[in-house]
């Protein structure tokens, strides 16, 4: 017999069951549902916050206490995750090293009354990388005029800003095209493609210097940051040791070191000997003809931000750059782990095949996988046809271009996606992205369907439309390069002047030799050989001869004692392209 209250109980029981199921469904959906979880923005550095809030204006003055121009603005990146970086010991490094003796440096420059130290330090590094086979003077003026961030030309900058400017192919411009301080042209020729910038982590201790030393030996001058105050500078020994004051942020270049530099040469002796040899941008009359020595024990030198070695490739090569991040790496995103996925969907503008992909790596050890999809659907980076898969590792933070093993054919109007899965060991913000920070990078813009991120590579969020528009003007830092493989000039271009003795007179002979550049991926057909009278303008270069690809020496005979030339040699490949020149002079 049924209880007379059965219908009421049944209704109540049913309600409980349905409510429980619904609650469970809603809860489960929120945890395991299709909706992409919210990423976490990497925290900015303390110094950057203080800079933005203008809490410590004395740290960011335009001039040092003794009147010299500065100009370093702190990077937004919090690099505290490097503070426990173990000391790296590289056995083969010499006790002292000085780029001044190797022909790897360009002359001391003078930044004048302008906060452009960072631009000079950047190009000092880049020019040094190219020396001695190429002798360039790049335009700091163009860099400070066109960096794209929220302030004027002489208001400062940092290595992130110069990397962004170079990585997007706004420069480098030749100094002659846009000389310091007076710009003369509106259109500029980009002379090089900066495809890689090696970041050296901040020194975690006074003697953890080997990574910096190795970078100097490998690449040339290395951009570094410091705090400058005249109190800590001994002008008679050109020695600098700041052990206490964060004041006067400045950008310079490390060009060597001396492990035995006497500690007693500093105004206050540090705990031990040893100093970096540093190139400044305050002209030849300052320091030791523009150079000075910074103690290994300086509390701030190369210890707050990334130091950087800028590398360059020939501008003859990649012809198209696909990118949405002209302001580069402003900050990072992560999902609480050191692995993340990021992607850009581009629309091909030409038939030039896709050849390389670039992105930033923030960790001291990074691994990556690169996926290229063609004919992708809008908003779905991982759709269409998988055209390429690459993987590898990067053993230093930096901005890197990864050449694809096989070029990918594209056609105008075709949608393709570049996807990177990156693991930045011990750093939980593996997704580098451009972000409109107020008073810093507020000019950043983005559109729907451009940049996507994901925690797992399956479900993707459009940065522009997700999370109530929090990242609506953000793009991930991921570029793609199409065109032809770069064409490199011959290497090891060496000049030796010989005397041919005929007793009554001497014939002088310039003996030139070079080597094929092993980085070239297209077949070299010939070399073209030019010369001009030493000191003449570049327009005076004249073609002397064309030499077969298997000839690596040339004798310029019949010269008189006071007859000097500067020589250039270029490579011409099977596609008819002529490389940039390697140059050398007496």
């Amino acid at each position: 017999m049924m209880n007379k209250h059965f219908p009421l109980k049944f209704i109540f029981f049913s309600f409980l069951v349905i409510s429980t199921v619904l609650a469970a469904a809603i809860f489960t959906s929120s945890i395991f549902g299709d909706k992409e979880e919210r990423p976490i923005l990497s925290p900015p550095s303390e110094e950057f916050i203080k800079y933005l809030e203008k809490l410590e204006p004395q740290k960011w003055p335009k001039y040092s206490d003794d009147g010299y121009p500065l100009g370093l603005i702190p990077s937004p990146h919090d690099l505290s995750y490097f503070k426990d970086l173990p000391t790296v010991k590289i056995e083969a490094l010499p006790a002292s090293y000085d780029l001044r003796t190797t022909g790897k440096l360009t002359p001391i420059r003078n930044q004048g009354r302008c906060g452009s130290c960072w631009a000079f330090a950047t190009y000092s590094s880049l020019e040094s990388f190219l020396r001695p086979s190429e002798n360039w003077d790049f335009s700091e003026q163009n860099l400070i005029d066109h960096h794209g961030f929220d302030w004027g030309p002489c208001e400062g900058g940092n290595t992130d800003i110069s990397t962004a400017y170079l990585a997007r192919w706004s420069g480098p411009i030749h100094e002659e095209d846009d000389p310091y301080i007076y710009a003369t042209l509106n259109e500029f020729t980009v002379r090089k493609h900066v495809q890689d910038v090696i970041f050296i982590p901040p020194r975690s201790s006074s003697l953890n210097n080997d990574l910096l030393k190795q970078a100097v030996m490998t690449y040339g001058a290395v951009y570094a940051s410091m705090y400058y105050k005249s109190t800590y500078y001994n002008s008679s020994t050109y020695a600098y040791y700041n052990w206490s004051e964060k004041v006067g942020a400045h950008g310079v270049d490390i060009i060597g070191w001396d492990d035995n530099f006497d500690k007693n040469k500093f105004t206050t002796p540090p705990p031990g000997n040893g100093a970096f040899i540093v190139k400044n941008s305050w002209g030849m009359n300052w320091g030791e003809s523009g150079y000075f020595y910074v103690s290994y024990y300086d509390e701030f030198f190369a210890r707050r931000e990334f130091s950087a070695a800028f590398k360059a490739e020939p501008a003859v090569g990649y012809t198209i750059i696909y990118q949405y991040d002209p302001l580069g790496w402003v900050t990072s995103l992560g999902y609480g782990s050191d692995t993340g996925w990021f992607s850009n969907i581009f629309t091909a503008t030409a038939f030039d095949p896709l050849l390389a992909v670039s992105f930033y790596a923030a960790g001291s050890l990074n691994t990556y996988e690169i996926y290229i999809y063609t004919d992708v659907n809008p908003d779905q980076p991982r759709s269409g046809t998988l055209a390429n898969l690459e993987s590898g590792s990067l053993n230093s933070p930096g901005y890197y271009t990864i050449p694809l093993k096989v070029g990918i054919a594209l056609r105008p109007g075709q949608k393709f996606s570049v996807i990177v899965k990156q693991k930045t060991t011990n750093y939980n913000y593996p997704i580098p992205f451009e972000y409109p920070l107020k008073d810093y990078s507020s000019q950043a813009t983005a559109h729907a369907g451009e940049s996507f991120i994901s925690s797992n590579g399956n479900t993707w969020s459009d940065l522009h439309t997700s999370w109530s528009g929090q990242y609506a003007n953000s793009n991930v830092c991921l570029k793609a390069f199409a065109g032809l493989p770069p064409l490199y000039p011959p290497t090891n271009f060496v000049l030796q002047r010989l005397e041919n003795n005929f007793i009554f007179f001497k014939e002088y002979i310039d003996n030139l030799s070079w080597e094929a550049n092993p980085k070239n991926r297209t077949k070299i057909l010939k070399y073209k050989f030019y010369r001009k009278t030493k000191g003449a303008a570049d327009l005076a270069y004249q073609l002397v001869s064309e030499l077969a690809a298997n000839v690596f020496v040339s004798y310029q005979r019949g010269l008189k004692k006071d007859q000097f030339y500067t020589y250039r040699i270029t490579a011409v490949d099977e596609l008819g392209r002529e490389s940039e020149p390697s140059e050398i002079g007496n």
């Binding site: 010989l498 041919n500 003795n501 005929f502 007793i503 009554f504 007179f505 001497k506 014939e507 002979i509 005979r557 019949g558 004692k561």
Partner: protein, 207 residues
Amino acid sequence: MNWEGKVSLQRSAIKEKTMKKVIFLLTFLILFPAGQYASDLEVGAIFGSRTVNDSEIKNTYGNGTFFFPYLALNLWKGLFVGAGYEGGYSKETKIGLYEESSTLKVIGIEFFIGYELKIKVISPFIKVGYGSFSYKQTIQSLYVKDYKVDDKKTTLTIDGGVKFYPVKNLFLAAEVKYVPLKVKPYEEEVDLGGLRYGGGIGFAFNF
């Protein structure tokens, strides 16, 4: 006065002293002849070897030979004047880093004045000359065609020797001559001078 001026003055003084010595010697020999008078006219030819002072020339082209036909006129009491032609030094070799073919030729015309002291059949003599020497270097190379080593230089010479008269008027001679000849057609100074060791034959005509 600067140092160049001083050096120039010193050189002038040395030249003046040398000239005085030569004039004194000639005067002495003319005024105090010890032997018979020399013949009126003399023809002869000297052959022999010659050295080159410049070590690079010596190493490259080597020492060489010479010949010197001459004509002399007796003036007075053994004092004579004459003229001759020096030839014979013409060398061919490879030169320079690329071992290119090269020649070097040195010839000269010389006017001289001398004194001969005849003691029976032996006559020692001494001569001072003034010569004009031509030198020419050729190099078979396209790269140095702008350079031309083909020039002349005058110089004093000094010569001494002895004549032997086995029969009347016919003589055999042996002599040593020194020719200083520093040239500088371009930036390098080269010493083409050197000693000549020669022997020869001649005939003296008495009119």
